[in-house]
């Protein structure tokens, strides 16, 4: 152990959960802490360390969930986190105890990391998780034999089905962790003279810690420059070949693990029924067919299943607006509520069914193990475009949201490939685009069946998602040429066993994601709706007063109620056009006119730069002002009946709707993604380049689309 004390005197004991990717660490972390961190049958779910608190009989324990790693030889940023937490003696708060989670069906691979931890001298307990899958594969593990050979406590668990988890708490409470005797004698591969020098300089007591310092210390910026320089000099003076030593250590370790497993493991031949599924879903032709079929099924269900609650919610908010106007005393607050707040909230709530369903489907695909097959399937196909191996995981994550997708790019060790992945991930159609797609497809694509069973609207939605994929491929290819990637990474993913999804977890995901959508996006949307209403209701006082007086004078001369109604509508339209937002909108109108948009859509484009879903609520608010709220028009009806004042044509013609759809496929329009790209690339340069590129691409593609269809 390091000379420095492991944890501060008064802080609770710190327990790190570590293991290979996709072995159930986050499930165990959630069980212990009661938190709801995302879990999945999908490697790379955790890319940052997470902390939580476990309380047992009034005593607190800090639990740390580390990203998955295969060894203590870090290859990517997420693996460095685990390496640093365990190795860096200059960090004050290192874990006191370590829970190592191993997939029982992949014992050899898990033991590689576990035995490295043993050699590091940490207080360890091993959890042999996924015991149900091991039993299904006829794998018998003699855990007592393992305990005898390794010298650390061993528990068998089935975290997914919540079996065998209670003893973990008891074990933690009793601090039943052990420092086992060394598994590999590192003195066989590293000269003792160098180890002693390093141990003395860095105040280390353990040989393996000194070896880790020799192997990675010179590159670790968490270590002082003076020590890094010293280390580099020592290694150069001794002509120390780091790669050769690592290779030698790996060979010795695996040899010993193989010997150990001959005593502790029996694997009877098991039926290979499930591999026949893989023969189809990973087939070079049928695999893609199945994938397209799955996507189409999801989109078809999104349209057919979500339309009923959507109509109900839409109608409800339209009714509320009318009631507010009819019930409350006339005045600006009543109008703010009826024309600003209620349509704004309605524009958020209406999309809960789709958001919940989309995330439900994604959770099912991940939990069954199919998502990992998709990653494997797409990997082969995307290589010619400069997207290799690990890029696929962030891209698939980007279908839900670009933010975790961009963060998942930390898995990629090659800098250029990482940059390409970060820059193209926001082009994947995320869930925030879904509300815009659904509304505009509903307006422009007839509800018809193709081939008798495929919904045309669902097919259009699929085409938009595929268009996003083409955007990714094209941009990646362009970046591949510009950035000239020499090094190539490879995909090291595993194909987890197929499982029945945990319906409770799917339900939790649907609830949590809908809640986040409503409360996170909803607060911003509500605030923007209020500001928009004011900007759309007020303008330069003299102009507004003049328009009002003209309207009154015209109404006095009107001869029929129909004429009065017409003059009233014209006056309201003029008032909106001369309001503050109207002035702003008309200023940008020349820029967006070639895309087929009027100034009202232009305003929605500007406000939705904060987040794409703001587009619908902005449109709903702008089109509510001065409209006939007592007619209870829904958002979709309002958009369908809008008429362009200058041309007299419908505002949302098919050409305009298609152009808008294409614009949203390619446009950046997400402040949170920008913030994350800035954080991941450590500067503003790349997020600015990305935004300019995506906006220009969106503009160009929307322009072409409008010109083709108009």
């Amino acid at each position: 152990m390091a000379a420095k004390e492991l944890s501060e005197v008064n802080s609770p004991p710190r327990i790190a959960i570590i293991g290979n990717p996709n072995v159930g660490k986050s499930t165990i972390f959630n069980y212990l802490t009661g938190l709801n961190q995302k879990t999945g049958n999908y490697p790379g779910v955790t890319v940052d360390k997470k902390t939580g608190v476990l309380q047992i009989q009034g005593e607190n324990f800090e639990i740390l969930d580390l990203p998955g790693t295969y060894s203590l030889f870090p290859n990517s940023e997420d693996e460095i986190i685990a390496h640093r937490v365990l190795n860096n003696p200059e960090l004050e708060k290192r874990p006191d105890y370590v829970l190592m989670v191993i997939d029982s069906t992949q014992l050899s691979r898990g033991l590689f990391l576990a035995t490295q931890l043993i050699d590091l001298g940490v207080n360890l307990t091993i959890l042999l998780n996924m015991s149900d899958l091991a039993a299904a594969k006829n794998i018998e593990i003699r855990s007592f034999e393992l305990f005898k050979q390794l010298g650390v406590p061993i528990l068998q668990t089935d975290a997914r089905n919540q079996k065998g988890l209670e003893p973990i708490k008891e074990l933690i409470h009793q601090r039943n962790f052990s420092k086992a005797p060394q598994f590999v004698d590192i003195l066989k591969v590293v000269p003792p003279s160098i180890l002693d020098l390093v141990k003395e300089k860095f105040e280390l007591e353990n040989d393996y810690q000194a070896y880790q310092m020799i192997r990675f210390g010179a590159k670790d910026k968490a270590i002082s420059e003076e020590k890094r320089n010293w280390l580099t000099q020592v290694l150069e003076e001794n002509k120390f070949n780091l790669e050769e030593v690592q290779l030698e250590e790996t060979k010795i370790r695996y040899k010993k693990i193989t010997e150990l497993l001959t005593k502790a493991l029996t694997k009877k031949s098991s039926p290979k029924a499930k591999s026949s599924i893989d023969k189809v879903v990973l087939h070079p032709f049928f695999g893609y067919l199945v994938f397209i079929g799955v996507l189409l099924l999801i989109f078809q269900t999104l349209f057919s299943l979500a339309s009923y609650p959507m109509d109900w919610i839409d109608g409800f908010f339209a009714d509320v607006s009318g009631r507010v106007l009819a019930t409350f005393p006339e005045g600006p607050l009543t109008r703010l509520l009826a024309e600003g707040v209620v349509p704004g909230i309605g524009g958020v709530v209406i999309f809960i069914p789709q958001i919940a369903l989309l995330f439900g489907f994604l959770a099912i695909l991940e939990d069954t193990g199919y998502m990992s097959r998709v990653v494997f399937l797409l990997d082969r196909w995307m290589r010619p475009f400069g997207l290799h191996g690990k890029s696929i995981v962030p891209l698939v994550s980007g279908v839900a949201c670009a933010i975790p997708g961009v963060m998942a790019a930390r898995n990629i060790s090659n800098w250029k490939e990482k940059m390409i992945t970060i820059l193209v991930t926001p082009l994947m159609s995320c869930s925030a685009r879904l509300p815009v797609y659904i509304i505009l497809i509903g307006l422009s694509v007839p509800e018809e069946q193709v081939f008798g069973f495929i919904n045309l609207q669902a097919l259009s939605l699929l085409c938009l998602y595929l268009l996003g994929v083409f955007g990714v491929l094209g941009t990646a290819f362009l970046l591949k040429v510009i950035l000239k990637t020499d090094e190539k990474s490879f995909l090291m993913t595993e194909l987890p066993s197929y499982r029945i999804p945990r319906w409770k977890d799917v339900g939790i995901t649907m609830f949590e994601k809908s809640k986040t959508f409503v409360f996170e996006a909803g607060k911003v949307i509500l605030a923007i709706s209020i500001v928009l209403w004011v900007l759309a209701s007020y303008g330069p006082p003299s102009t507004m007063e003049e328009i009002r007086q003209q309207g009154i004078a015209q109404q006095e001369q009107a001869t029929s109620p129909e004429q009065v109604e017409l003059i009233e509508a014209e006056t309201n339209s003029l008032l909106l056009e001369n309001s503050f937002i109207g002035i702003m909108g008309r200023a940008i109108e020349p820029v967006i006119q070639p895309l087929g948009y009027d100034w009202k859509i232009g305003i929605a484009l500007i406000t939705s730069f904060a987040a794409r879903e703001v587009f619908i609520s902005t449109i709903a608010t702008i089109y509510s002002i001065g409209g006939d709220l007592e007619n209870d028009l829904t958002i979709r009806e309002k958009l369908a009946t809008q008429v362009n004042a200058s041309t007299g044509d419908k505002t949302f013609t098919p050409a305009t709707s298609y152009s808008l759809l294409v614009f949203y496929v390619f446009a950046m329009q997400c402040m949170s993604t920008l913030a994350v790209v800035k954080r991941e690339t450590k500067g503003w340069k790349w997020p600015i380049i990305q935004t300019v590129y995506m906006t220009a691409l969106a503009y160009l593609m929307a322009f072409i689309t409008f010109q083709i269809f108009s």
Binding site: P332, L336, V524, A675, V676, R679
Partner: protein
């Protein structure tokens, strides 16, 4: 008159919230530099 006062309060609150969202330095989650470094 009271309606106008409430509208002004709502608008000022909304602008303040949007500015706060735009300018604040996140301490957790998205955009939190400190969390990324630790």
């Amino acid at each position: 008159m009271w309606q106008q006062i409430l509208v002004v309060i709502a608008v000022v609150g909304a602008i303040a919230y949007l500015l706060w969202k735009l300018l604040r330095k996140p301490t957790t989650g998205t955009g939190c530099d400190k969390c990324a470094k630790s």
